[in-house]
Symmetry: C2
């Protein structure tokens, strides 16, 4: 591909190289300065799960003695928030990152770097806004026990090729956004020998291996950090009009587009969902998280036909999955040469979403979406494939035309 942005999107290879406290990776975080998912938002706008996560992070960082105390700090405006995406990171769901939280570090062969917070696991978790003693105890164990072992194991193997694992994931029925179970197992197979070697005790090794194996989304952190490296390289590539981030903060969904400064935003939709038993659509928080970065680089919904097994989880048939991927081809500039769909005879996934193509075709991208409960700490209530607001793309295309001095086509 001659185009520099598309070439980066297709070819930048990314390795997971370490795990460290967020404060060692970025100086944007501080004692009461945390990161969050999605485009910027004000403290008084925080949706329930994100508010819960900030409260939990304040207690975790010992800035508050209790959740009540943390709530007072938050209501008094004594907290600063910045976006993951503007800090070189990407986090699932609330995506809240505080200074001592362990994050995975990914490095691209173009010199780019990005991070993503380690995934806590299923059930009650900070990323859904839970902040109870069990949630904080797990975060402390992740910080004190798991993070140094994982970092040591990654160093021992001289990093893991995440883009290769994603490509192999498509051969194993993962789309590397909402289905990560096979890639998680692949990652365990690659790291387990070194984990056994570097852990201070066999019980610590066993604990870390159980933590990884007990969470089918453990790989998601790796996928997000890798996608963020690739997307940032694409953004720097300078081809105007390519989507280089899709993210949402539970209030507004945002697009980052190469050639445009800042964010194009729209109210966040709840999206189409297959709800877990016992929940209604009124329980769901509108779209939230940075994990749509996977769709940005040709995974997730853009690779849905590689993952027929996800159908029972998100409520799609194999035919719908194929139709979705086919439709996404019409708003993309290229076909991946490395993310191949075996069931389509190893044809690449569509990649390089162009805001003008989407706007002209009247086709907004689809994204795989996990839905959090509106209330902090309840957890996930469903999953689905959701259409982004078309207005985002019309606005971005207009801004682009205006900035280039051309009339809006």
């Amino acid at each position: 591909m001659r185009d520099r942005g598309l070439r980066a999107l297709d070819q930048v290879a990314v390795r997971a190289v370490g795990v460290a406290a967020a404060r060692e990776v970025t100086d944007v975080v501080g004692p009461r300065h945390f990161l969050h998912a999605g485009p910027p938002l004000a403290l008084d706008e925080l949706p329930g799960p994100m508010r819960g996560a900030v409260i939990g992070a304040l207690v975790f960082e010992r800035e508050a003695r209790s959740p009540d105390d943390a709530q007072r700090l938050l209501d008094a405006g004594e907290v600063t928030l910045s976006c993951n995406h503007e800090t070189g990171g990407a986090g699932a769901m609330a995506g809240v990152v505080s200074p001592s939280m362990p994050v995975l570090i990914a490095a691209g062969d173009d010199g780019g770097r990005a991070f993503s917070p380690l995934n806590e696991g299923l059930g009650r978790a900070l990323r859904f806004g839970a902040s109870g003693p069990d949630v904080l105890a797990r975060l402390e164990w992740m910080r004190d026990v798991a993070a140094p072992i994982l970092n040591g194991a990654l160093e021992a193997v001289e990093g893991i090729d995440v883009t290769a694992l994603q490509a192999e994931g498509l051969r194993r029925g993962d789309e590397c956004h909402n289905r990560n179970v096979a890639s998680t197992a692949a990652l365990i197979a690659l790291l387990a020998p070194s984990i056994a070697r570097v852990a201070p005790t066999s019980e610590d090794a066993a604990g870390v291996l159980e933590y990884m194996a007990g969470n089918p989304h453990f790989f998601l952190t790796f996928s997000l950090a890798s996608c963020k490296v690739v997307a940032d390289a694409t953004h720097r590539g300078g081809t105007p009009g390519l989507v280089t981030a899709i993210c949402s903060n539970g209030v507004r969904v945002g697009l980052r587009v190469s050639g445009l400064d800042g964010w194009v935003t729209a109210p966040a939709p709840v999206g189409r969902a297959k709800l877990f038993d016992g929940f209604t659509i009124d329980d769901a928080c509108p779209m939230m998280g940075d994990s749509f970065i996977t769709e940005t680089i040709g995974l997730g919904a853009f690779a849905l036909s590689a993952s027929p097994a996800i159908g029972s989880f998100i409520g799609t048939t194999p035919e719908e999955a194929r139709a979705i991927v086919e439709q996404m081809r019409s708003i993309c500039h290229a076909t991946s040469s490395r993310f191949l769909i075996p069931a389509e005879g190893f044809r690449g996934t569509p990649m390089g979403i162009d805001v003008t193509l989407a706007s002209q075709a009247g086709i907004a991208p689809l994204v795989n979406n996990g839905l959090a409960h509106r209330q902090p700490g309840v957890g996930q209530v469903g999953a689905g494939v959701s259409r982004l607001p078309l207005g985002l793309f019309a606005e971005a295309a207009g801004d682009l035309a205006a900035s280039s001095g051309e009339p809006d086509r």
Copy 2:
């Protein structure tokens, strides 16, 4: 399903419960009495790879001081061979099992048990007839280090549900015969914590985890032992005319059929193959191994459309894979309720091959096939999907009609 044989085929659940020396699992093996793959054959008929494996096993068991010495014993007829399948086992390729070799033990919820030798890994291996010092050193390490750790880990987790792993394998692009890479990783994820705990040293734990992770077919042993338990339960079910084993010894391919005693055999074909670089079809040994037991219970070629990624390995397109599974439905009595193909909207795989249906339709089953080099120790030269000789099914159907006193239809 009302039919007892088909019900067993569909429902017997199998757990991997331990690893032990073959002599502790069956008293058929002895100092110079080994097991082999396929239907019975005489010492002077042994194809190259099987002959090499017997020679290696004699040295491994210290019955011979050298391969030359072993060859003299073999040529003097001082070795006895029995079939795996008649001893409750199933082994890939040459399938040679000697008394101190470690075998996996599988137990069905119907009380049935079966075993399969641990897979040595890629490259030079006894199952392809290699018997050099490297091959024997690895077997010794497997016997002395890996086997007790794996046994301890299996006991610590109270066994592993192999039929559930096979079902999940189909969701991860494995057909559990020629593609086992995702299921191998799943198995590592399940066992790694216990391996870390039970290994005498962290280096032993790391060594066992590397051995498992370094072999994309490690799971095959588990798959074969499990399929053998299910197939034996089906055989005991008594429904006449169901295929309950397909196996080959490199000279003759054999069928075991419920309601018939002994084996129906035909000359082993080489089959259709996609050859690895540098080999021609003349290098290939005719079909060899017990691993076609997977097709017998609705996996392997009978689940090929669940494994589009295998196409580049065996030379099939996704369309051919779907057509193969569809054709196999026409000679099977039932559809699996647990082995589901996500890309077919979670339709079950065909199972319960009926010799009369196959004979009448003129359609012999297809099997996935790994091809060994004719010469001992060279290794695998290719893989493919191969048609069994139709004559086997006509003969079995005739025998069945004769034995039931009915005229051959």
